[in-house]
């Protein structure tokens, strides 16, 4: 994705040179394959470290909450939607931001590629024209279609183009449609399970959790000054590895994200033990769509449904 990288550098340098922003938030190349690092460039020289390819799968909106500087930020579809959520929730002001929109060509799943490799991956090459990814290690080299190794949230994404931006770094990409894919196929599978199956599914899903909170901390929505699991007076949740407490953390976090989650997949990408945290959040996304006709982060003005009150609410109890 050299064309993207070059254009991102060009725009970032211009913004810094013209003193439009104090910093630009992007990615620099990671020291291990598939793991680029969120990075701030505060001068033109630092911009040279910027990189853009299919391993930029975290969410940069996570890095701007409550900041006071003028910030340039790279934003894919989901990242831009989280910026919109931040604007609605008062975590940053629009006039502080210069949003460099990135029409997103989807990110690759680092867990999937690692599972495919016959040993440790030492390099990753991307052929944009052919749409392939080549992973190499000491004794292997394997080329796969990028479409087959996408992060699941990216393969189901309906908003690849940024919804809010000041400037685009490339031409818009075609959007996927629900005629081609069902973004909720997996949710429906889980919904169809009987209670025992469901219990076992979620029990198994969380059995590896080590409570490192990488999912929470990679999430731009989780900006509470003190998370309920860290509260010690009163103490809502035990801090040991008790299974009920582990579940409580995941359930409550997911509900706190209902109507706000953009399915950016940062939680799954960050999890060191490969838990598909999206099994919770995707269900709540589906519920918000069905019950309220709501998709998170498409508007920088409207508050999310569970965060607002409307006299037109059809439910009788509220009148």
């Amino acid at each position: 994705m050299n064309s993207y990288t070059d254009k991102i550098k060009e725009i970032s340098k211009r913004l810094l040179k013209e003193d439009k922003v104090d910093m630009v938030v992007g990615y620099r190349k990671g020291s291990v394959p598939l793991m680029h690092q969120p990075y701030i460039a505060q001068n033109e020289a630092e911009v040279d470290a910027f990189v853009w390819d299919s391993s930029c799968g975290l969410n940069l909106a996570n890095y701007i909450t409550d900041r006071t500087e003028r910030i340039g930020i790279l934003a894919t579809g989901c990242n831009s939607r989280n910026i919109a959520v931040h604007l609605v929730e008062g975590k940053i002001k629009r006039e502080q931001l210069y949003i460099i929109g990135i029409p997103c060509k989807a990110m690759v799943d680092r867990h999937k590629l690692a599972a495919m490799a016959d040993g440790d991956i030492t390099s990753v090459e991307e052929d944009e024209e052919k749409g392939t990814i080549t992973i190499k290690g000491e004794n292997f080299s394997e080329t796969v279609n990028k479409a087959d190794v996408l992060q699941e949230n990216c393969s189901l994404c309906m908003h690849r183009n940024p919804v809010i931006y000041d400037e685009l770094a490339a031409e818009e990409v075609p959007e996927q449609s629900t005629d081609e894919i069902d973004p909720y196929a997996r949710v429906k599978e889980i919904e169809a399970m009987d209670p025992d199956e469901k219990w076992n599914h979620f029990d198994d899903l969380l059995s590896d959790c080590i409570r490192c909170y990488a999912c929470r901390n990679a999430c731009p929505l989780c900006y509470c000054p003190l998370c309920f699991v860290d509260e010690s007076n009163p103490q809502w949740v035990g801090k040991s590895m008790d299974a009920t407490d582990v579940r409580t953390f995941h359930f409550l976090r997911a509900y706190h994200c209902a109507g706000r989650c953009t399915d950016c997949g940062a939680c799954v990408r960050a999890c060191p033990v490969g838990i598909n945290v999206r099994d919770f959040t995707k269900k709540l996304e589906k519920d918000c769509l069905e019950l309220f006709g709501w998709e998170a982060g498409l508007s920088a003005e409207q508050r999310p449904p569970l965060d607002t009150y409307s006299p037109k609410d059809p439910e009788d109890f509220i009148k």
Partner: protein, 358 residues
């Protein structure tokens, strides 16, 4: 020290015999990756693994451990009186532990076994555990054990070191515990005169395959306050950090803990849990003040502890064995090799340091 030969055809039968006197723990693949598990009868450790995601430190030092119990029944004469729970410390053997992970135990011991304080839980578990190491012939690209006081064939912290040699293991019997284990398994074949030489050759080959390193020679000589105030290092590196506990929880050498009381039904429990310097509650004072209140403070604490405070206090290298887990698993690619090299090369006069790619 003697070297014996264990034919792989005798491996499973030996393990079965060991079960009579040891609980066996070893690497097995669960879902997507390897982890250390108690091996039920018939289940063998997967000796083809690279390394586990979570280090085996939990075998000695569990993530959550009940250290005291009490009755919460007001009619009970022992109501609210904490007592040590009865716990069986049966002999166990960790089979297939990597040398870097074994080298973490003596390092962690410096914290749990001092002249003034002896941690009974850690020590009892450690003393009843036999460590059967598996030498590393295919180190990961992120391994830097040879420059962190360990190595792919390091045998200083093991009771037995197994070297995969085709159809058999060459086994270095290193301690009495190791001898007891091979006797219990019935492994006693003479490895022949050239076994030691064969091991040395494989060791040199494995060491030459370690691709990355850390520079630590200047750390002890650096001024603690200069490093603490080295904003050129901390501000830039802290930006990406999300303050999750991944690095500390996968680390074999992180030892910090937090003690919590919980009540379940009519029982009260005092539980020791792993803590993480990345968390907002870490070192939070009762007043509400936290001397490490920001992300930068917490990230700096982790690296200063491992690469400066520990270095100065124990004069025994860095608090790291180079297993590379934090490098591989940090969701935002904070790389201890890079930060160690920055700290090692920091020049307080010019406030600059060498920045390496890894």
């Amino acid at each position: 020290m003697k070297v014996i030969k264990i034919d792989k055809t005798d491996w499973a039968a030996g393990l079965e015999k060991l079960r009579e006197s040891y609980a066996l723990i070893g690497p097995v693949k669960e879902k997507f990756y390897h982890t250390f598990k108690t091996l039920e009868p018939g289940r063998e450790p997967d000796m083809d693994y690279s390394n586990s995601r979570i280090s085996p430190k939990f075998v000695i030092y569990p993530q959550s451990e009940v250290i005291l119990k009490c009755s919460m029944d007001a009619n009970d004469p022992d109501y609210k009186i904490f007592k040590e729970p009865e716990k069986e410390y049966k002999s166990k053997a960790v089979v297939g532990i990597r040398p870097c992970d074994a080298d973490s135990f003596p390092l962690v011991r410096r914290n749990f076994d001092t002249e003034d304080y002896k941690d009974p839980y850690w020590l009892r578990a450690y003393e009843t555990t036999t460590l059967v190491g598996l030498a590393c012939n295919n180190p990961c690209p992120t391994c830097f054990c040879t420059s962190a006081g360990s190595g792919p064939y390091s045998d200083e912290s093991l009771d037995l070191l197994l070297v995969d040699n085709g159809d058999h293991y060459l086994a270095k019997v290193l301690t009495e515990k190791g001898q007891s284990l091979v006797s219990a398994a019935g492994w006693n074949d003479d490895a022949g005169d050239d076994a030691t030489e064969a091991i040395e050759k494989k060791k040199a080959d494995a060491e030459s395959r370690i691709q990355s390193r850390v520079n630590t020679e200047n750390l002890a000589g650096q001024s603690l306050l200069d490093l603490y105030e080295a904003d050129t290092i901390w501000e830039k590196e802290a930006f990406a950090c999300i303050n999750c506990g991944t690095c500390t929880y996968v680390c074999p050498t992180c030892w910090c803990f937090d003690v919590q009381d919980e009540i379940h039904g009519n029982q009260g429990y005092r539980i020791r849990n792993w803590d993480s310097c990345m968390y907002p509650l870490f070192t939070m004072h009762a007043s509400g003040h936290n001397p490490r209140g920001t992300k930068l403070d917490r990230l700096r604490q982790r690296f200063m502890h491992k690469l400066k405070y520990y270095v100065d206090k124990y004069e025994n290298g860095i608090q790291c064995t180079g297993c590379g887990r934090c490098v591989r698993m940090c969701p935002v690619n904070i790389d201890i090799r890079r930060i160690c090299n920055m700290m090692n090369s920091y020049d307080p006069e010019s406030c600059t340091c060498e920045v390496t790619a890894s």
